[in-house]
Symmetry: C2
Subunit: 321 residues, 2 copies
């Protein structure tokens, strides 16, 4: 069994080669540029880990992992266009550097390239892998659309938000694990428990992301604290605060959401603290991670094989960066 | 054997159902909206015809045909964003009606849906169909990128233009035919000849499109004559005119390309006529269609099976609308 860190090194070695043709440069260089920005490569490594839970890692798993990472990067390129984001990881986004039309098209061809890697999967598993990948890919688009719809909706319920995050963030983690499991010959029940592990872990991961944005140590987190607050994003924290705040606090929050006063972050955080949002978020995260671990427990393989997934989950939801 | 018109009715019956989920409406209704705009459905019917050249039409061929038509519509939705086109077939484009972000995402999910139809192909042919589809899809993106590059290039050679049109227009026709042939059990040589038939037919088709835009009867063509001229598009006609014109004519054309004077179309057409561009285009079209027919001839099946393809090719390059 290998740890996340070890498999991450393996995957990076496999992934950090030129994946696109040389010509036309104007189409493919933007793809390569975006991939050099790096990333934690969590999803593809999850695919390898899902595979190793049941068997030795097969070459096919690296192809599916590559497809997953290309898909994830395709969504980022297109999301950046939709969000009009000038920077990602401190570098120019593709549309900033190469123009919107090329960014759109480079994203498209990256998705197509993902399918080309899926087509390297052995025939026995090809239908099953494609079906899960297609379902997941459509769900991620649905999640992004719901997220955009929510920007125009005044009142977003906690359940709606969970549903959106599930689609936008969790299903890709869940299905990366499950695709690895399928390639490892896992039976239906084991593969489904692993999927549910990923789904619940994904929610806990997002809660932690929202938490760090508000309460993280800016030195460690590497991003400006309160970025979500300044962007008026409806996060787990904001939705819960609006849910439990009294009338005065609610009015203040709604007023703060309309303009960007210099003390906006400070004042929102102060309401968050009065409402106990930080403690609530910690409990919410623990609730989801407990469900995730129960599903991991229910997978019928010896415990020792589960350790790397256990460690990864603990890291993802307790990280401070 | 069935004619294009007969198969077109069959395909339309198959295709004109709700192809996307109901929810979220904000993502999927734009997809359905775009498909109701209609279209000639040339490519999917070519897939059925490629299949019937070798065997009775299989259900799989309808799935691949659906994938091809979804892919084609995905490219149109994204092209309309890139071109900032307000209308298509007299109706609002998706980004005009629903906004750019939703148009981008609806296009994405339409491409994913195309792959879901490909995944219904029987296992024996799945790898082969996917490989050809992926290659073609990437080439279409390359063609669109080259087309955008050419807008910023002062001097585009005839060979560069042929290459771009081949990628942007012909390969999808060629591979639609070939995917049908593969499903019909065609051998490599027959399938390749059919591909080459489609490739050359596609070029001839585009020459006719460019020709009609300049010299067509607006009553029959259904579009404003000279639309390409007003949009300063580098068409077969413009590239050839710039190639053969004398210095004075060349300077006049280049001046006309810079501004939109009221008599622009008239003056460009007059130079086209002096340079014999219309006759040249007719000959060019005949040259490509002759090569296409030679490849059709070389396919080892009885002539009578080839008749519908022969008729379709003649229609596509001699149509006046």
């Amino acid at each position: 069994m290998h740890s996340f860190q070890e498999l991450s090194v393996d995957f990076t070695r496999h992934f950090n080669v030129r994946l696109f043709p040389l010509q036309p440069q104007s189409l493919y260089d933007p793809c390569e540029y975006f991939l050099t920005m790096g990333g934690k490569r969590i999803r593809p490594v999850m695919c390898l880990m899902g595979n190793e839970l049941f068997d030795e890692i097969l070459p096919d798993a690296f192809e599916v992992a590559t497809a997953v990472e290309l898909f994830h990067n395709f969504t980022l390129i297109h999301d950046d266009i939709m969000d009009k984001a000038p920077l990602r990881r401190g570098m120019d986004t593709v549309h900033t550097k190469f123009g919107e039309s090329t960014a759109l098209l480079s994203g498209d061809v990256m998705l197509i390239q993902a399918y080309e890697h899926l087509n390297k999967v052995r025939t026995t598993y090809l239908h099953k892998i494609l079906a899960l990948f297609n379902k997941t890919a459509a769900e991620v688009c649905e999640g992004q659309q719901l997220d955009m719809d929510f920007e125009k909706t005044e009142f977003v319920t906690f359940d709606d938000y969970i549903k959106m995050i599930g689609l936008k963030t969790s299903v890709l983690m869940a299905s990366s694990l499950k695709m690895g499991a399928i390639l490892g010959g896992a039976g239906g029940s084991n593969a489904d428990h692993l999927y549910q592990f990923g789904l619940n872990l994904g929610i806990a991961f997002q809660v932690q992301d929202d938490y760090l944005d508000a309460f993280g140590d800016p030195q460690k987190f590497g991003k400006q604290v309160g970025g979500d607050i300044l962007a008026n994003k409806k996060t787990f924290l904001m939705i819960h605060a609006l849910d439990v705040a009294n009338e005065d606090q609610k009015n203040e929050l709604n007023d703060l959401l309309k303009v960007n006063e210099p003390d906006k972050v400070e004042r929102v955080l102060s309401i968050f603290e009065i409402c106990g949002v930080d403690e609530w978020a910690r409990q919410l995260k623990e609730k989801y991670i407990a469900v995730a671990f129960q599903h991991l427990e229910d997978i019928a393989v010896v415990s020792v094989r589960k350790k790397p997934l256990h460690d990864l989950a603990n890291f993802l939801v307790h990280r401070d960066y």
